[in-house]
């Protein structure tokens, strides 16, 4: 025997199961703005963590590598154009940047456990950290250098003789890349015994 369903329940069920045409637009609009907020917020946070102020907010960076960098040409020079930490240490392209950011999240663990929280610990760990950066630069053909230093715009006639020779041969042929010769240009070097060429 079939129970009679009251008419108002049928109408209510109908109301619930058949979306209004307007609802679809409301959901779309909500999704659109939520997307803007979340995506924008994500990117803003990522940009925030991509500043020198953020990098040097920890004493490990501020008292060691940042201090060392201040006398080098990438910080102070005649024309005042300078590089900040992420210019060299974080890829500028989005995909590579995300990959690097995820890798770098491991550094949070280092910060918590105090891996390099004294000058001595930093010095002991310096070779390992430097090798990681050299390796990264070697593998990506010094991509971060090339964000500013454009090979095609290099005027060899304005370079010193030796530099022009190296750039027009080894660098031009792709046999060597920037980091192969230009190590320790912005920070102090670790013990270089055993490093090829040193």
């Amino acid at each position: 025997m079939k129970l009679p369903i009251p008419e108002f329940l049928k109408r209510y069920w109908h109301f619930l199961t058949r979306p209004l045409a307007l609802a679809l637009w409301i959901i779309l609009a909500f999704g659109f703005f939520a997307g803007i907020i979340f995506w924008g917020g994500f990117n803003t946070m990522m940009e925030m963590s991509n500043t020198e102020a953020f990098c040097t907010s920890c004493h490990e960076m501020r008292d060691n590598v940042f201090e060392e960098m201040k006398t080098t040409i990438h910080y102070s020079n005649r024309s005042g154009v300078r590089a900040s930490c992420p210019d060299c240490h974080v890829p500028h392209e989005w995909t590579h940047k995300i990959v690097r950011k995820v890798q770098a999240s491991k550094e949070l663990w280092g910060k918590i456990t105090g891996k390099i929280d004294t000058p001595r610990k930093f010095e002991e760990h310096r070779l390992q950290m430097a090798m990681r950066e050299w390796d990264r630069m070697k593998k990506n053909d010094s991509r971060e250098c090339r964000n500013c230093h454009n090979f095609d715009s290099m005027d060899f006639s304005l370079q010193s003789k030796r530099a022009a020779h190296m750039h027009s041969t080894a660098l031009a042929s792709g046999e060597l890349t920037c980091i192969d010769c230009h190590k320790g240009i912005a920070h102090k070097l670790p013990d270089m015994s055993g490093v090829p060429g040193w």
């Binding site: 006398t71 080098t72 040409i73 010193s160 003789k161 030796r162 020779h165 320790g184 240009i185 102090k188 070097l189 670790p190 013990d191 270089m192 060429g197 040193w198």
Partner: protein, 160 residues
Amino acid sequence: MKRRTVSLLWLPASVAIVYLASIAVLQGADNQPPPEDVESLRGSEPVGEVPAAPELKKYPKERVPMDLQYVGQPPLIPHSIRGYEITANSNKCLTCHALENAKSARAPGIGISHYRGRDGKILADVSPSRYFCTQCHVPQANAKPLVPNTYEPVESLKKP
């Protein structure tokens, strides 16, 4: 009683006399004028005052190698050495001027004497006593000599 007080006063009195006398003697020494012909490189400015710093010399970025000006002169560096680190960890100069790198870097190699230890034996690497290049080799700015000298180039040895 009175007599004892007087004898007790003698001790501080004698100390005071010696003190005053020594002050008088030392002031007398201070008052002597310094010899006329002696002047330090920093000039005659009193020690308490800070003289104006001389203008910074500009090192040329690159130039042709300079001739030696006296026998046994360490060759001057004809290029900029800004930021070249010479520490226990690394020596930037040697990446071009060490004998094993000099040819590929097209740079003059350092003398074989720099591989000789203090006991005269030839070493496999640069002698620690020669490691700090800038102790002897410096870039040259256009600077006048601070003190006169009688150094002469090697030709002077030929003179009778």
